[in-house]
């Protein structure tokens, strides 16, 4: 049996896996965004219980390694929701929870960065709580929130690599598989790293550009 060496075929295989990485990132970002928004609303809302619950949720999510979270979801889903759950859903659910915990906290910070006087002014115009939120606060918070949100997207893309431990074939797992067959760890993982870099670096740059723009505009 001859051992193959690293070839274009492998690059192609990695490229397909990279699509899965992107897909998983998209699931995590969209799911995490929706869930995170809800958690954030609860976190700053009027209900004491909801506020505490949201805060506990955030602390647990931020205080547990994603790896453990993924294991828990992977086995937990199977236990509670029955078998046959594809790995992508487990991975997607794990990353969604992870992203929601962080996004909720990031966005809370952005909303609280809108001066308190804006809330008051809106209140004094007799707007309802919902109107205050949607018409006055959110449009302003959105501007502040964009750079850190894009920045966090990079974290999500990178952290999808952990889905490999529950058998989901994305970029990192693909790298491991290729390495199984050709045993050139250095080459393989360098190429894998290059793939991640190609995805993440533009996002990082974009986030920085947004941040600079905001700083200039905010001055």
């Amino acid at each position: 049996m001859t051992t193959p060496t690293f070839s274009l075929l492998h690059v192609e295989f990695l490229a397909w896996a990279a699509l899965w990485t992107l897909g998983l990132s998209a699931i995590a970002f969209i799911g995490g965004g929706l869930l995170g928004f809800g958690v954030m609303l609860a976190r700053i809302g009027p209900s004491n219980i909801l506020r505490r619950a949201a805060s506990t949720y955030i602390q647990i999510v931020q205080g547990t390694p994603l790896l453990i979270l993924l294991f828990l979801i992977y086995y937990g889903i199977a236990i509670f929701a029955g078998p046959g759950f594809p790995a992508i859903l487990a991975a997607g659910a794990g990353l969604t929870i992870y992203a929601s915990g962080f996004l909720a906290e990031i966005w809370r910070g952005c909303i609280e960065a809108v001066p308190k006087t804006q809330w008051e002014a809106a209140e004094c115009l007799a707007l309802t709580r919902w109107q205050r939120m949607t018409r006055v606060i959110l449009p302003q918070a959105l501007r502040i929130a964009t750079p850190p949100t894009v920045g966090f997207l990079v974290q999500i893309v990178k952290n999808t690599s952990l889905a490999s431990v529950i058998g989901f074939i994305e970029l990192a797992q693909a790298g491991k598989l290729i390495n199984n067959s050709i045993f050139e760890p250095f080459t393989v993982f360098m190429v894998v790293a290059a793939f991640y870099f190609a995805i993440c670096f533009p996002l990082s740059m974009w986030s920085r550009k947004l941040e600079r723009k905001l700083n200039v505009a905010g001055r």
């Binding site: 602390q59 931020q62 547990t64 994603l66 790896l67 086995y75 509670f80 990079v154 790293a193």
Partner: protein, 227 residues
């Protein structure tokens, strides 16, 4: 649901959990200290170094921040061996974590350095302080104090991320969990327990960091405000 929970099966393993947690803390402690030094030096280099130094630091920071830790761990562990240097998994894990957190520290500290106003440096220059003295007394120390909360969060995240090094045989908490669950076949329970241990560790770590801040930053202790 056909699954019955049984946490008692894990009881005999408490020393393993304990040692796993100890190694996790050791890894994080070493990487925190080393990463802090590396990151701070890099931040200074990036702010004030020659163009070559600046470019090297920038490349280091961007490459690390835009690739997953998992891949970095593999490259360092196997890459170093391919070069003919054999390091233990724990050492490789420490190096990988240091390299990783060093890049993040660099970014955070750099923001702190930039927040020190030029006039502070001028004032120190006018008092006749030498460049290293200015850096130490007027730039780095207040800068660190300012970004201390961000650093704390980063190092707690590092501790959590160290779970990845189980992949290269470092016997830290997650590795222990994987081993115990395959011995007891109580996967879900094991990961719940380990998740709780990580939570506790992160609280402990935050506590330690704020205790350190209380001791190190006298101004904060006295006035209760941040710089």
């Amino acid at each position: 649901m056909t699954y019955t929970f049984d946490f008692s099966a894990l009881l005999p393993y408490w020393p393993d959990f304990l040692w796993g947690a100890v190694l996790t803390l050791q890894l994080s402690a070493v990487a925190t200290v080393a990463g802090f030094i590396v990151g701070t030096l890099c931040a200074i280099g990036r702010a004030d170094g020659s163009p070559v130094v600046k470019a090297i630091v920038a490349a280091y920071v961007e490459v690390i921040r835009n690739t997953p830790l998992l891949v970095q761990v593999f490259i360092i562990y196997f890459g170093i061996a391919t070069l003919g240097i054999r390091v233990s998994a724990n050492l490789a894990a420490m190096i990988a974590l240091t390299v990783n957190v060093g890049a993040y520290t660099c970014e955070i500290v750099r923001a702190g350095l930039q927040s020190i106003h030029r006039s502070q440096v001028e004032a120190a220059e006018c008092l006749g302080l030498s460049k290293p003295q200015i850096y130490w007394h007027v730039i780095v120390r207040p800068a660190i104090e300012r970004v201390y909360p961000s650093l704390t969060s980063q190092y707690v995240l590092l501790m959590l991320a160290s779970s990845i090094t189980s992949q290269i045989s470092a016997e830290e908490l997650t590795a222990v969990a994987n081993r115990i669950q395959s011995g007891t076949f109580r996967a879900f329970e094991t990961y719940i327990v380990v998740g709780i241990i990580y939570l506790v560790l992160s609280f402990v770590m935050r506590g330690a960091f704020s205790a350190f801040a209380q001791a190190a930053f006298t101004r904060r202790r006295k006035l209760g405000t941040t710089l």
